[in-house]
């Protein structure tokens, strides 16, 4: 199932966590495509399952969690059936991940050069240290860090530099997909803005795809080509960045966009105040998980879960307001 357009296809993915208070479905029946060369923004609040989805995409879910079902297709390869050693090779080689906190992801007693060289040599057994170092030097300069800093330890670098080293670790093997999980969240706005510029430039230069996982919806508007919105373990809306921000369809997306303060002075002062809080996933609401907070909830919403319906080309909405009636009966029956 190799597709020209899609680099990664997630189909009906479900991830469960087994907790003391019972099974928790962190990601439920999620389908999502990551196109070649795009920056896809995955946005949602804490606990919505966005990080779990990112980890599941690398098959890195650990106990007490488990991928309970679904398919993962990366560039025509069925990751769900891939043996663990091949999967390990693929992580880093083809897909790499940038985490939120570079301080805990970098080894404090290893120099920056060792991080990079070790990554290269682990994945490319034949590469000599000298040429690995050469590559590390080139890459780090490309990211705007002087190559003499390769001799430094992580604590000697600033937060922004450390984050760029993390990106470097993702790029050094020429990955096709970078999963950035809240990669800019701990950074100050100016440093964050520079990192955003850098990620865009890297995408343009290397033509790779980036899955940008964040809670910051404004950041998504700044960087993403397409956006997927997640709520309580479900993808509730997918569309181009212009679709989502110009014409949000799902009441959650609408509420979120209207409740976020902006620095623009011309905008109305009043913010939308969304009632309630995100649900506890050990005991999620019935039907559509957003219905208790939804201003447009109907009787059906608390009864049955809607499908993630394609309302127009490439535009998906998980909401009863947009369900085709013919499909509705079919889904309910199923």
């Amino acid at each position: 199932m190799r597709s020209e357009e899609n680099l990664y296809s997630i189909r009906k993915l479900t991830v469960d966590y087994y907790t003391r208070s019972g099974k928790l479905e962190a990601v439920g029946q999620v389908s999502l495509d990551i196109k070649r060369g795009e920056i896809l923004g995955l946005v949602g609040e804490s606990g919505c399952g966005k990080s779990t989805l990112g980890k599941a995409a690398m098959r890195m879910i650990q106990k007490p969690g488990k991928i309970a079902g679904g398919e993962l297709w990366f560039d025509g390869v069925d990751l769900m059936t891939l043996p663990e050693d091949e999967m390990r090779q693929l992580r880093g080689d083809k897909i790499s991940m940038i985490f939120q906190d570079p301080m805990t992801s970098l080894n404090p007693v290893q120099r920056i050069s060792e991080h990079l060289v070790e990554t290269i040599k682990t994945h490319e057994k034949k590469t000599k240290t000298k040429s690995a170092l050469q590559r590390a030097r080139k890459l780090i300069e490309r990211l705007g860090i002087q190559s003499r800093r390769l001799q430094d330890y992580p604590h000697q670098l600033s937060g922004g530099m450390r984050q760029r080293v993390m990106i470097g670790l993702g790029l050094v093997l020429n990955s096709n997909l970078i999963i950035a999980d809240e990669a800019t969240t701990s950074l100050d706005v100016i440093v964050e803005a520079k990192l955003v510029d850098q990620l865009k430039a890297i995408r343009d230069e290397f033509g790779l795809s980036i899955l940008m996982i964040t809670h910051n919806i404004a950041l998504v508007a700044e960087i993403a080509d397409r956006v997927a919105v997640m709520y309580a373990g479900r993808i509730v809306e997918v569309g181009t960045v212009y679709d989502i921000f110009d014409d949000p369809k799902h009441p959650y997306t609408q509420g979120l966009l209207n409740s976020v303060p902006t620095i623009q002075l011309d905008e109305r002062q009043e913010l939308y105040k969304m009632p309630g809080e995100p649900p506890d996933l050990t005991n999620p609401p019935s039907g559509c998980r957003f219905h208790p907070r939804c201003p447009q909830a109907m009787a059906v919403c608390s009864q049955w879960q809607p499908a993630l319906e394609e309302v127009s080309a490439g535009r998906l909405v998980h909401c009863w307001l947009y369900q085709d009636q013919a499909v509705v009966s079919g889904e309910v029956a199923a």
Binding site: E45, S46, G47, S158, G159, G160, M161, D188, V189, I190, V191, E192, A193, K194, V196, D197, H215, N216, I217, A218, L219, A221, E222, A224, V241, Y242, F245, Y252, G255, L256, L257, S259, V260, P261, T262, I263, Q264, L265, Q269, L271, Y272, K273, M274, P275, E277, P278, D280, R293
Partner: protein, 344 residues
């Protein structure tokens, strides 16, 4: 209002709840044993380097800046959680440094704090009722009989209704948003005049933030509060603050009415900071270049204007002379030698 405050008003002509004058805070850096033997000079982290501002009664004054700008330290100095190295903080015209420890303790009920992380700032072994009532126990022991009613009233005010439902619950039994409200109730129960809110909603879920901000604004009106609101988020500041001060490396670089500062930022740093904030509109993506480098180390800050090594318009003078805050527009001060070029 006491005679004392009226006196101060008469003097300054303005009704200030808080006056901060030339505040400095240096934290000594722990040197190694060898350094001590060699008699090396003590080094300091210069967290706050001569900051002055006033907070009007009933306003929300924001302090914004990146990490390391000194905003949290200033907040802690204002409510007396730290002692200044130099300079003074006046509450209602009274210098905190001139008071005895006992008097400062008494003043505490007039200054309360809301911290960032509600889970960390609530004792897991105290029920909601105990946590909120704790301040009453300390500051109003004589009213012990009324404490439970006072706590209940405050819980209802912050939207935890009916209060009886929450009173005997422990922090882990309520949701994150509710914990946030408990922190607000706890700060308000002693009927303070000044609230230090240090990133109070940064940990809250995005979809509940606007509700909390709104609650804070409503309570301000109902209880005649004054807020010192500390944040790194300029968008949140826009929603809640009346005036704002922008900090860079322990210095105030710009200060004024919020709308005025946002509409006409006069300091190159403020301009960069405002430009860096992402806007939730893909049609308005940022095109501005960001300043080079990162915020320098406060142990050895740059000479002159602290922003000069990163500033796009810096001249020779900027590395020599430290600019002071000066008023360039009504209600708008800036500390930049070259800010005139941004006036028009």
């Amino acid at each position: 209002m006491s005679d004392r405050t009226q006196q101060v008003e008469a003097k300054s002509g303005e009704d200030y709840l808080v006056e901060v004058r030339d505040l400095k805070k240096w934290f000594p850096l722990q040197g190694g044993f060898i350094d001590t033997l060699l008699g090396k000079n003590q080094t300091f982290v210069r967290a706050v380097e001569g900051v002055s501002f006033n907070i009007h009664r009933g306003e929300v004054f924001g302090l914004a800046g990146e990490s390391g700008s000194g905003k949290t330290t200033i907040g802690r100095l204002v409510v007396g959680l730290e002692t200044p190295t130099e300079g003074s903080v006046l509450l209602d015209g009274v210098d905190l440094a001139a008071l005895s420890k006992e008097q400062v303790r008494k003043l505490r009920k007039r200054m309360q704090v809301m911290f960032q992380d509600p889970t960390a700032s609530l004792n897991p072994r105290m029920t909601v009722g105990e946590a909120v009532g704790h301040g009453l126990k300390i500051h109003f022991p004589e009213k012990a009989a009324a404490h439970r009613d006072m706590v209940a009233e405050m819980l209802e005010r912050v939207g935890l209704t009916p209060a009886g439902l929450y009173m005997d619950k422990y922090p882990h039994q309520i949701s994150g948003g509710q914990r946030q409200r408990v922190v607000i109730a706890r700060a308000l129960v002693t009927m303070p005049a000044l609230i230090l809110a240090d990133e109070p909603i940064a940990m809250a879920d995005v979809s509940v933030r606007s509700l909390l901000l709104d609650l804070m604004l409503r309570l301000k009106q109902e209880l005649n509060l004054t807020y010192l609101f500390i944040t790194h988020d300029l968008a949140t500041a826009k929603y809640i603050c009346d005036r704002i001060g922008i900090l860079y490396l322990g210095r105030m670089v710009e200060m004024g009415d919020l709308r005025e500062v946002y509409a006409n930022p006069l300091h190159p740093y403020t301009q960069a900071l405002l430009a860096a904030v992402p806007v939730p509109d893909p049609h308005k993506r940022r095109t501005e270049q960001m300043p080079k480098g990162e915020i320098p180390n406060p142990i050895n800050p740059p000479s002159g204007c602290r922003f000069h090594p990163r500033c796009p318009i810096a001249e020779a003078r900027c590395s020599e002379e430290q600019p002071e805050l000066r008023q360039l527009r009504p209600g708008h001060q800036v500390a930049c030698h070259l800010a005139e070029q941004f006036l028009d």
